[in-house]
Amino acid sequence: MVDLSVNVGGLAMRTPVATASGTFGYGTEYAAATDYSKLGAVTVKGVRMEEWPGNPMPRHCEVFGGLVNAIGLQGPGAAAFAQYHVPHYADAVANPPPLIVNVWGGSIDEYAETAAVLSTPGAGSDKSVHPLVAAIEMNVSCPNVKAGGHTFGQDPKILFEVVKAVRAATKLPLFVKLAPNVPDLRPYVAACEEAGADALSLINTIPAMVIDVDTRKPVLGNATGGLSGRCVHPVAVKCVYDAHRFSKLPILAMGGVYDANDAIELMLAGASAVAVGTATFTDPNAAASVCDGIAAYCERNGFASVRELTGALAQ
C-alpha cells in the first residue's frame, strides 16, 4: 500500500490530487460522477468580497489541444459563499476533502478582507469560517479581469504587498497562484516567500486569443482569455521545475494534467501535489484516475510514499 497522503504548506491532503479552481464549481456540481475518496482537496471558483457577474458571452473557445476561456471570475461573493456554498458542499458530499478557496479582489484591501471573512471569527485567526475551508489560494494571475488578479501578480513588489496583507489577515495555509508568462519566476517566487506564503500554485492559464475569421471579431466576449488544457502541460512542468530549484515553498501544480503520467512529470519536477482542471470537462472522473495511476506508478517503482516523487529527478 502506497502512502498517498501529502501535506502542502500546512494543508493535509489524503491524496496528492486536487481539482483546479474554475473547473469544479463549488465542489458539488460533479458530485454524481466523482469519487471524492480519491481527491486530496477541492479548489473552488474564485471568490471576492462582492458578488461578481463575470464577463460577457461567449466565455470559452475550444482550440486544438486546449481551451481558451474568459469566464471572468463570476462568483457569489465571500459571504454568500461561506453561508451557502460551503455548508451545501458539506451536506452533499460524504467524507468531503478539504476546500482550497481561491480568493481575489480589486484592491489589496479586498484580498485581505476576503481572506479574513473566510478565516473568521477574528482576523488573523487560524480558525476558518467552516472546518472544511482549509486553505486560501490567492489568484494574482487571472488574465480575464482587468481590475483584479493579473495586475497584482505581474510586479513582484505589488505581489509582495498583497501577499503580505493576506498573510496578516489569515493563518490558514496560504497558496499563491502565479502566472506562467514571466521571463523568470524567481522574483515572483521570492516575493511570495518573503511575504509569508506557505505554498505556490503553478500555473494559471496563459494569456491567449482566438479570432473568428468570418466575422473578423474576437470569439470571446472579453476579446482575450486564458489558455488551459493538455497543450500547456510542458509549460507547467518548466515553471514547477524552475520554482522548485530556487525555493523551498511546496508546490501545488496544475496545467494540462489529463493522466497519471502528466501528474508524475509535475511531481518529479518538484510539485508536492497536482490539480486536475480542464481534463475534468472531458472526463469527469479524470482526477480520480490520475490518483489511481499515481498509486500504481509508486507501487511499480518501489516508492512507499507519494511524497518521495517530489523533485525526484534521476541524476
Binding site: G25, A32, A33, M57, R59, H60, N69, T280, T282, P284
Partner: protein
C-alpha cells in the same frame, strides 16, 4: 444534480434527413431517470483526447435507451457521424432542468430545425401524463426549407398535430413558424382556452415565443441552446441573464439552472 457518466453502446445510427442523424444508445442508467428537456454531454469518439464534450438534447428516452437527434454542423458532429453501431460512447447525463411533465391547457410546441428533438420527448411525456380528455399537443415547426423539417412522422405517430411553415414555402405555409402559431393563439383566445408554450430552436425563435407567452400571461417554457463546457454548472461558460426570485438579474448557467427557463424569467 450532476448526471452519471455512463459508457453506452450505439444501437442504431442513421440519417434523419440529409445532414441530420439519429443515434440510439443503450443507456440504462441515464434512460431510467431522464426527463424531456434535459440533455446529455457526449464524449465524441474519434476526436482527439483533449476534445471537449458536446451537449445534445434527448429526442426520446426510456426502456433503457436514449435517442439523440443531431445536426452535422461542425468538427464534433462530423466525428460523431462516423461512430459505428456497436461502438462505445461516454455519455454524462441526464443533465439540467427540463420541461414540466404536465400542462395546464393546450400544449403548444414550437420548434425550429433540430430544436424539435426535446419537443418529441416532451410530447410523449405530456401524452403519457395527460388526463383522457386533455387537449393533445400541437407542434408548430419551421425551417428554411422542407429539408429542415425533421421527424414529423414520429410526432404524428404520437397523435400530435403538426403545423408547418417554411421560409421558401416548400412545405406548409410560406413564412415563419410564428405565423401559424399566432393564428392558433388568436383562435384559442377567441375560445377562451388556456395554453402553455414550449419551445426549442434558434434564439430568435425562442425570443418570439417567449414574447407570446409573456404577452398573453400564459406559461412559456424556453429551452436555451448553448454550447456547454462542463455541462454540470462547474465552469460558468454557458450563462444567460435571468431574473432571480428577488427580481435581480443574474448570470444563470444554462446547463444547470436550465436549459429550460420560464419565459418571464429571461432577461433577453
Amino acid at each position: 444534480m450532476a448526471g452519471t457518466n455512463e459508457t453506452c453502446r450505439v444501437l442504431e445510427h442513421f440519417d434523419a434527413a440529409p445532414g441530420y442523424r439519429f443515434m440510439v444508445l443503450e443507456a440504462p442508467k441515464i434512460a431510467a431517470t431522464v426527463a424531456a428537456g434535459q440533455f446529455v454531454h457526449v464524449r465524441v469518439p474519434g476526436l482527439e483526447k483533449t476534445a471537449l464534450r458536446r451537449p445534445f438534447s434527448v429526442f426520446d428516452g426510456g426502456d433503457g435507451k436514449l435517442t439523440l437527434l443531431y445536426k452535422v454542423v461542425g468538427r464534433g458532429t462530423e466525428a460523431l457521424r462516423a461512430a459505428p453501431v456497436g461502438c462505445a460512447v461516454e455519455v454524462l447525463g441526464p443533465l439540467g432542468y427540463g420541461f414540466p411533465s404536465t400542462c395546464g391547457g393546450v400544449p403548444l410546441l414550437v420548434g425550429g430545425g433540430y430544436g424539435v428533438a426535446p419537443l418529441h420527448f416532451l410530447a410523449k411525456t405530456l401524452l403519457a401524463n395527460a388526463k383522457p380528455d386533455a387537449p393533445k399537443p400541437i407542434l408548430f415547426v419551421g425551417g428554411r426549407t422542407a429539408g429542415d423539417l425533421l421527424a414529423l412522422d414520429k410526432f404524428r405517430a404520437l397523435g400530435v398535430e403538426v403545423r408547418v411553415a417554411t421560409n421558401d414555402g416548400s412545405a406548409g405555409v410560406k413564412g415563419f413558424v410564428v405565423d401559424p402559431l399566432d393564428d392558433e393563439l388568436i383562435a384559442l383566445r377567441e375560445q377562451g382556452r388556456k395554453f402553455e408554450l414550449f419551445t426549442c430552436g434558434p434564439d430568435g425563435l425562442l425570443r418570439a415565443v417567449a414574447m407570446r407567452a409573456t404577452g398573453t400571461g400564459m406559461k412559456g417554457w424556453i429551452s436555451m441552446d448553448r454550447h456547454m463546457v462542463c455541462g454540470v454548472g462547474a465552469c460558468f461558460a454557458c450563462i444567460q441573464k435571468i431574473k432571480g426570485p428577488n427580481g435581480k438579474v443574474f448570470n444563470a448557467r444554462c446547463c444547470v439552472n436550465g436549459p429550460v427557463f420560464k419565459a418571464e424569467d429571461i432577461a433577453w
